[in-house]
């Protein structure tokens, strides 16, 4: 070996090491979770778990809903943010003070606190509004005519105002559906091409109604083998982060409710899509698509005090369910859904009011009921097997004049 060879070999590790460059400073700046520290959480919250909130990546409003008689004051607050991001409290005059985790924040008068999370790179930042608000006592009667709707912040799809009992963790009071997930899989769709859309003048009395339609999710949906999206409508929240990996988990159903539902009355109309297809888009002969509408009442805390939140995979089967009412369907002997050619749901192409009584499996505990220990789901789907990405493209369920009566 001569000098040049030795030099070349000696330089080699230097070349190799220089390939991977130093990691860039992080650009992410999320509040991932937020918690309030209270000596006696039960003075404020119906559930101990309500003191900690996981914050979805697309949320920038965080609302803690507390008991109506709780006296809101300064509460030590801890944020979990993206690694190496820094947190500031931004005052009205836009001046910002660094926020130290665990320091007390004055939430009195239901004021909104502005937090700014600045990424490690100091370029990207996100602003969050955090507040603690009294939850208004809800009525034992809910109604909705679906007259109040508007485009979402991105202008891509419609959202509907829901009864005030359906206020969610971001302080919004809207019906949820799969539209945010559809936006990811078919970004070019116009607002009226989404699975859940309003129909002005389409209701039984000539006012607006809601249309749920089973849609093709396009090439992107095909890639992830979620070829259809059933139109849906429910109370809860939609976890858009999971929309592609686990669409069933993305659909988080149910919100706490302090009354015992007795029956759901709703006007329905159904236009069935012509070809029922399985998950791989193969037509299934001898099977027709069916709509679904249900009321589920479930215990929202397990024996260990953990939160129970139903999702698309167990909305009708979770053992925490105490009461259930649903449009009639055929079932197999083992209780599983039976696809058939002669459905018994009774929804036709003509408007008709349906009464769906809630049947209870166990006695409700009045104390638990009063302290919001049960959650209510009111759910609709244009394809009852949509959760398994089966159904007929073009199936349409029209909904209007919803009423929930409680005991």
């Amino acid at each position: 070996m001569n000098k040049a060879t030795i030099a070349a070999l000696a330089l080699a590790p230097f070349f190799l090491a220089s390939c991977i460059r130093d990691e860039k400073e992080n650009t992410e700046c999320d509040i991932e979770a937020i918690s309030l520290h209270l000596d006696k959480p039960s003075d404020f919250f119906f559930h101990d778990y309500d003191t900690l909130k996981q914050v979805p990546s697309d949320a920038d409003e965080i609302v803690f809903l507390v008991k109506s008689y709780a006296e809101i004051h300064s509460i030590p607050t801890t944020l979990r943010v993206t690694e190496d991001a820094s947190v500031y409290i931004v005052a009205e005059d836009d001046s910002k003070t660094p926020f130290l985790n665990g320091s007390a924040v004055d939430y009195s008068d239901e004021r909104t606190l502005h937090f700014r999370v600045v990424a490690e790179d100091k370029v990207w930042s996100r602003d969050y509004n955090v507040s603690v608000k009294h939850k208004e006592a809800s009525d034992g009667y809910l109604s909705c005519d679906f007259e109040s709707y508007s485009l979402d912040a991105s202008g891509k799809y419609y959202v509907w105002e829901a009864p005030s009992a359906f206020i969610d963790e971001t302080g919004e009071c809207t019906w949820k559906n799969g539209n945010p997930g559809f936006k990811i899989s078919k970004s070019s769709a116009k607002p009226m091409e989404y699975p859940t859309t309003p129909v002005a003048g389409g209701g039984p009395d000539g006012s607006a109604c809601v249309k749920l339609e089973t849609c093709d999710t396009g090439p992107f949906g095909k890639m992830v083998n979620m070829r259809i999206a059933s139109g849906s409508m429910f109370d809860g929240f939609f976890d858009v982060g999971n929309a592609l990996t686990n669409a069933l988990k993305a659909t988080q159903l149910g919100l706490p409710f302090a009354h015992k539902p007795d029956q759901l009355r709703v006007w329905l109309r159904y236009e069935r899509g012509s070809v029922f297809q399985d998950r791989n888009a193969n037509p299934v002969n001898g099977v027709v698509d069916e709509p679904d509408s249900y009321v589920v009442f479930y215990r929202n805390e397990d024996a260990n005090g953990n939160k129970v939140q139903l999702d698309g995979s167990d909305v009708l089967t979770n053992p925490h369910i105490v009461g259930l009412g649903r449009l009639p369907h055929h079932y197999n002997a083992d209780g599983s859904d039976q696809l058939s050619a002669d459905p018994i749901h009774g929804v036709t192409t003509e408007w008709k009011e349906f009464v769906i009584p809630v049947e209870y499996r166990t006695e409700l505990d009045p104390d638990i009921l009063e302290s919001e220990g049960y959650s209510l789901i009111i759910g609709f789907a244009s394809s009852w097997q949509g959760g398994y990405f089966q159904g007929a493209i073009g199936s349409k369920l029209f909904i209007d004049k919803l009423q929930l009566f409680c005991e």
């Binding site: 390939c19 650009t27 990546s57 982060g241």
Partner: protein
């Protein structure tokens, strides 16, 4: 990817530098050796060299963008080069050569990326954003390179060649997909680094659009450097590297935020006449 390119380059360099070092020794080769290993019809005549080689390398950004955190796998695709060069010596040491090298080259790589700008798009449906997780890329190209080289005979049995080349591609593919990395981290921030976080896993890998390659430029230009070692009277051992200096992507194409250059080396045997 870079590692291997550089390794290949060093492999080429090592014998050359060995020879260069040798050259510093007092020159005592006699004219017989120059004639024995020289062009068949005399020191200032010409001839042909038919080459068959193994091609390895990558199409790579230079330097590697900081978004690439780790290269987990790299495997060549294709890897065949076949070509012919005609050469003419003007003096004992200097000449030129012109050739046509047909190649099939490419690679497959799997890398951990952080905050890496991607497009997931097909038939007009676009999802753009910043991805963190595992990014898999494959590319292969069929084509022909036309090198116009100066050739320097540094000793009776060693030639060094260098000069510009142009490559024309008959067929180009570029595909890829993203999913979670070994730590289970895989997500896209939609549109901006603070956008909605969309999880992506290996059960549901999300591919690049399948028309990406339409945005590749069907030619490139660069510098070729190589050596020939005359092992037998008609057989050369050769090595060369084609270092592309032009971006393979159409400048108007926004899905790849950096320029990428084809850098491929060939090692093989040649028949010399």
């Amino acid at each position: 990817m870079m590692k291997h390119t550089i390794l290949a380059f060093l492999l080429l360099l090592a014998p050359c530098s060995f020879v260069l070092a040798k050259q510093k020794a007092p020159m005592n080769e006699n004219r017989d050796a120059w004639e024995k290993w020289g062009p068949i019809k005399g020191l200032t005549s010409g001839g042909f060299i038919a080459r068959l080689g193994y091609v390895i390398g990558g199409t790579t950004p230079l330097p590697l963008p900081a978004e690439i955190r780790k290269i987990s796998t790299f495997s060549p695709e294709g890897g065949i080069g076949i070509g012919i060069d005609g050469y003419r010596m003007f003096s004992k040491r200097w000449g030129i050569s012109l050739g046509a090298h047909f190649f099939w080259e490419g690679f497959h790589t799997r890398a951990d990326v952080k905050n890496y700008y991607v497009w997931l798009e097909q038939e007009g449906e676009i999802t753009k954003g910043y991805f963190t997780g595992t990014n898999v890329t494959s590319t292969d190209m069929w084509g022909v390179s036309i090198p116009l080289l100066a050739t320097c005979r540094i000793s009776p049995r060693w030639n060094l060649n260098f000069g510009p080349y142009m490559s024309f591609y008959f067929h180009q593919t570029f595909s890829g997909e993203v999913y979670d990395n070994d730590e289970g981290i895989g997500y896209l921030r939609e549109n901006t680094p603070t956008g909605t976080k969309i999880l992506m896993t290996r059960d549901n890998p999300t591919p690049y659009p399948n028309n990406f390659a339409d945005n590749m430029i069907p030619f490139s230009a660069g510098i070729e450097v190589g050596f020939d070692w005359k092992a037998l009277r008609h057989l050369n051992v050769f090595g060369l590297i084609d270092w592309g200096l032009t971006d393979i992507w159409d400048r108007k194409f926004e899905a790849i935020s950096f320029r990428m250059y084809p850098i491929y080396g060939t090692i093989g045997l040649a028949y010399r006449y």
